[in-house]
Structures are given as structure tokens and as C-alpha cells.
Amino acid sequence: MVALGEVDALFDPGDAVARPPRAWAAGRLRSIAWWRGIVLVCTGAFFLIPLFAALRFSLESFSGALTFSAFTAIPTQPGFTAALSLSIHLAVVTTLITLGLMVPTAVYVHLRLPRLRPIFDGITILPIVIPPVVLIVGVLQVAPTSLKGTPYLLALVYVVLAMPFVYRSVDAGLRAIDLKTLVEASRSLGGRWPSTVWRVIVPNLRTGILSATVLTVALVLGEFTMASLDLYQTLPVWIYNFFLSGNGHVSTAVSLLALVVTWLVLLVISSFDLRRIRRMAQARRDA
């Protein structure tokens, strides 16, 4: 199967280890500085102006005055709480199934079937190969009617969508610890399997599991394709339908809020990582 080493970078919410580049020649550096400035300013403008435009649009009232009414009005919009609640339910169910399925599998593969690891890297990347719109066509074709009648069919399929991200996060966590030694130590101290998993493996995989959770939740809260084609009003579908019914200001406000919340959560996770890295570095210096 295809080796997708580079894709790993996508699933790593932590920042790349910053390595200061060496100045090769002072003169060259100065000549490079101006084009770098232009590139960075243009890129910054391209990414920030739309955010600013959306913010201004959502703060604008019909008379043109600035007001927070689009934001304060969000909770009382018809259908909003139902859509939000459905999205949160789906996020919780998806996360539970995903972790329950992928963490034991990844641990098992690392412990017992290390030779199969490249194959697992390949299998878990498959959902990226099959477009969601094609997958949902197939799922709706084969799913029994009883499953089609419930939104939780979406959760079951989201597990597949989240799989590449989750497997990679957990796999990276497993690679960073000496799993075999930990498990042997726990077993020789008389720990049974459940307590080994719960008290030894899971705490050591905390960061990996946490980032997997964030990615899954972000994915479920933002997923539009499958939910809209399965005709369920999750949050993104509601935002779109609400927009179609002529409420652009509120829709844009909700979109912005969703983006900011996702960003904050990712920042929290990456700072969590950072603190751990710093503590490890401190411990190494003390030793």
C-alpha cells in the first residue's frame, strides 16, 4: 500500500520542533528579507481579510450600524438547539466508538503484530481515497431500513471518516513510548489486562488520545456532505438551510463561532503538548 508519511503532518496538532536556521551569509539574508516580507504579508491578508469580512458582515445590522444582535440571537433561532444537540450527540457517540475501536486495535497491532503495521497504515488511509459523497451513496444503498431511520447511522460512518486521523494520532503516541516494557512491567507486577490497559497504557497515550478526540469532534461538528445527503439537520446543515431562508447574518455568525471554538480547542491541546514536552526537557536537564 501507499506509504503516506507526509500525511502524518496533517494529524499532528502540535507545532513542529522549531530549529533556528543558520544564517549562511548576512548579505544574502538581507536580500531575502524583502521578498519574505511580501510573501508573509500577502498570505496574511489572504487568510485574515475573509475572516474580518465575515465578522463585519455578521456584526452589521440592516441599517448598517454595528450590533451584536446576530450573535445574541443565535440560541433562540428555530431549530438551532435541536441541530446543535444532534451534532453534539453524534460527536460523543462517534468519539466513543472510534476510541473504543481504534485504541485497542492500535495497541494490539503494536504489541502482537508489529509486522502488520505498514499494512495498517495503508488500510487506515483508505477513507481518504474514497470520497465521502461516494461512501454515503454506498452506505445508503446497503444499510437496512431500521438503521436508515436513525441519525446514528451517520455516527457509524463518521467513525470511518475519522479513522485516518485517529489511527495516526494513537500510532504516534504508541511510537513515542516503550509499550512492550511498560506492559511487561505491569504484567509482572500482577496487573491483569484490563488494569494494564486502563492504568498503564491509556495514561501514557493521553496526548495521542486527546488529539484524536479533538480531531474527531471537529470533524463531526463540521461534516456537511453526508449529513445533508442523509437528510439530517446537523449544525452545518442547519446553518446552510437557515442561510437559504434568508438569514445570512446569523448563519455567518454561527460559522465564525464554530471556527473560533475549533481553533481555541486545538490551541489548548497543542499547549498541553507543549507543557509536557517542556516538562520532559526539564527532567532531562535535571538528570
Binding site: 503532518a9 496538532p13 510573501v39 498570505t43 475573509p50 475501536l101 503484530l113 461512501l135 444503498q141
Partner: protein, 297 residues
């Protein structure tokens, strides 16, 4: 082989088979899940592509899917994917390089976490962002009007091919930055110093050293962007309400019930087509990856 040995190896083989079976049991839940929710639906689409609504085998769907408006959809999808993988791909390398060679650590942290968010960002909110920016009454449109130039009067239209391409850049460029940064970090400063010691200017360095080393990773990144673009649905759907013929949107419209009688399975043929295009791209990607790993060794 003597009969005695054969008799000896028999129980050993059986024991091995049993051990392998037991080892396999641990990955059984995962295997079942993947089969039920990934393999079976994918196969259902492939089989459905060759079935008439009444259940007979037929080439009819494939034939419809490769002609007329649907053939146009494939061409448009592939063109859009090419455009939105190559241009953001090149820009992504430039931006990542600008960030990496800058001194500010804070800048790098911000870019790294922002790329993570923006690369995941897509769908409905993204479309709104650009409607508020470059729509008929968008912010930038207003700015340009104030300068006496209304882009909408000069052939610009956000809800067309190039508009969608511009919007896709918003998540494709950060994706490229994420993917190419490790490769750029792999360029050793010593190479640069050696090149400059031999009299190479910046262009010479990129032409003879940096470029060739980076190229396999670059192409791999571009192929990934291509696949992402090809399977994108939400942004284009919200932005254009399905008015530009992209294959993913055409597939969606089959599920939405806009179906001519007798053509119910054409959507599956289109799905099969997308899978074939992506499979070809992934095979290319695999070949490129093998080349790339030769360099990193």
C-alpha cells in the same frame, strides 16, 4: 522431502496456523467494522454501477456517465483539481519556505497551528467567508468599488469555476504548508553553504540542489491536494448551489432525488469514476513516495 519430516511438520504447521488465527482475533472487531462500513458500501457502489434499476447487468450507466453533461463534469472536476493542487502547491512551498527561514519562533508557532485549523476548514463556513468577502456586496468588492473598479463588472464571478478555485485555495494552501514543511526542514543548511561556497546564487541553489531534493515531496503533496480537491463537495455545493457541473455534486444530486427514471444507478457509475481517478492518483503518489524515500535515506 522424506515422509517422516512431512509428518513432523504437519502439527507444527497446524499450531502455527492456530497461533496466527489467535493473533488475528485481536484485530477482528476492526476488520469487521472496516468491512461493514467501508468495503461493503464501496463494493455496493462498484456493483451498482453495472446494474440497471430492475437488477440486470448493464453498461448503460457507465455509458451515460462518460458522455454529455457527466463527461463534462469529470473534465471540470479534474481541471479544478489540477488547478487547485498545482497553484496552491507552488504557493505553499513559497510560504512554508518564507516562514521557515524567518527568525521569529512565534510566527512559526502561529503558522503551524493556523495551518492545522485552516487545512481542516472547509464546507459551509468557508463559503460564507468568501461570500462576505468577494460576493456582490462583499467587503473587498466594496473596497474595490470605492477605488472605482467593480470586479463583478469586469468578468469576475465568485460562483463560477475560478471563484471556487480561489475559495479552495483557502484550505489547500495550508494543507501544502503542513505537508511540505518537514521536507523543507530536511534541506540541510550545509548544502546551502556548500552551494554558495561554490559560487551558486539563490537561483542556482534551487535549480541544482534544493529543487531536485524537494521535488518528490512536492509532487506527493500536490497529488494529495488533487485527491482532496476532487472529493470536496460541501464548499462548491454551498457556493454555487450545484450550478457548476462537478462530479461530486452530480453524485449528490442523484441522492437528492433529481433522477430521471431508469438512471438511478448513474450516480454509482459516477462514484466508480471518481474512485478510479483517485486510484490512479494514489498509484502515482505511491511511485513518487518511493522516490522521495530514496532521498531521505
Amino acid at each position: 522431502m522424506s515422509p517422516v519430516r512431512a509428518a513432523d511438520s504437519q502439527p507444527l504447521g497446524r499450531r502455527r496456523a492456530r497461533a496466527a488465527f489467535r493473533a488475528g482475533a485481536g484485530i477482528l472487531p476492526f476488520g469487521i467494522y472496516i468491512t461493514v462500513f467501508l468495503a461493503v458500501p464501496a463494493v455496493a457502489v462498484m456493483v451498482g454501477a453495472f446494474r440497471s434499476p430492475s437488477g440486470h447487468w448493464t453498461w448503460q450507466n457507465i455509458s451515460i456517465a462518460t458522455h454529455g453533461v457527466y463527461a463534462h463534469g469529470f473534465v471540470m472536476s479534474i481541471e479544478l483539481s489540477l488547478l487547485t493542487s498545482v497553484v496552491p502547491g507552488v504557493l505553499g512551498v513559497v510560504v512554508a519556505n518564507a516562514v521557515l527561514t524567518s527568525r521569529g519562533r512565534v510566527l512559526r508557532r502561529i503558522v503551524s497551528s493556523a495551518s492545522g485549523v485552516f487545512a481542516q476548514f472547509g464546507g459551509v463556513p468557508l463559503a460564507f467567508l468568501f461570500i462576505a468577502t468577494l460576493g456582490t456586496t462583499g467587503l473587498v468588492t466594496d473596497w474595490m468599488k470605492a477605488l472605482g473598479f467593480d470586479p463583478w463588472n469586469h468578468g469576475f464571478d465568485l460562483y463560477t469555476f475560478f471563484g471556487v478555485a480561489l475559495v479552495y485555495t483557502y484550505f489547500q494552501l495550508p494543507l501544502m504548508v503542513l505537508v511540505i514543511t518537514p521536507a523543507l526542514e530536511g534541506l540541510r543548511p550545509a548544502w546551502r553553504e556548500a552551494a554558495s561556497g561554490l559560487g551558486a546564487r539563490s537561483w542556482g541553489y534551487w535549480r541544482h540542489v534544493g529543487g531536485p531534493v524537494l521535488f518528490p515531496s512536492f509532487l506527493g503533496g500536490v497529488l494529495l491536494l488533487f485527491a482532496t480537491s476532487l472529493s470536496a463537495y460541501a464548499t462548491a455545493e454551498v457556493l454555487t448551489s450545484g450550478s457548476i457541473p462537478l462530479t461530486s455534486i452530480q453524485i449528490g444530486s442523484f441522492l437528492n432525488g433529481n433522477v430521471i427514471a431508469g438512471q438511478q444507478n448513474v450516480g454509482k457509475a459516477l462514484g466508480l469514476g471518481l474512485m478510479v481517478v483517485i486510484a490512479v492518483v494514489m498509484v502515482l503518489y505511491g511511485m513518487v513516495q518511493r522516490r522521495a524515500s530514496r532521498w531521505s535515506r
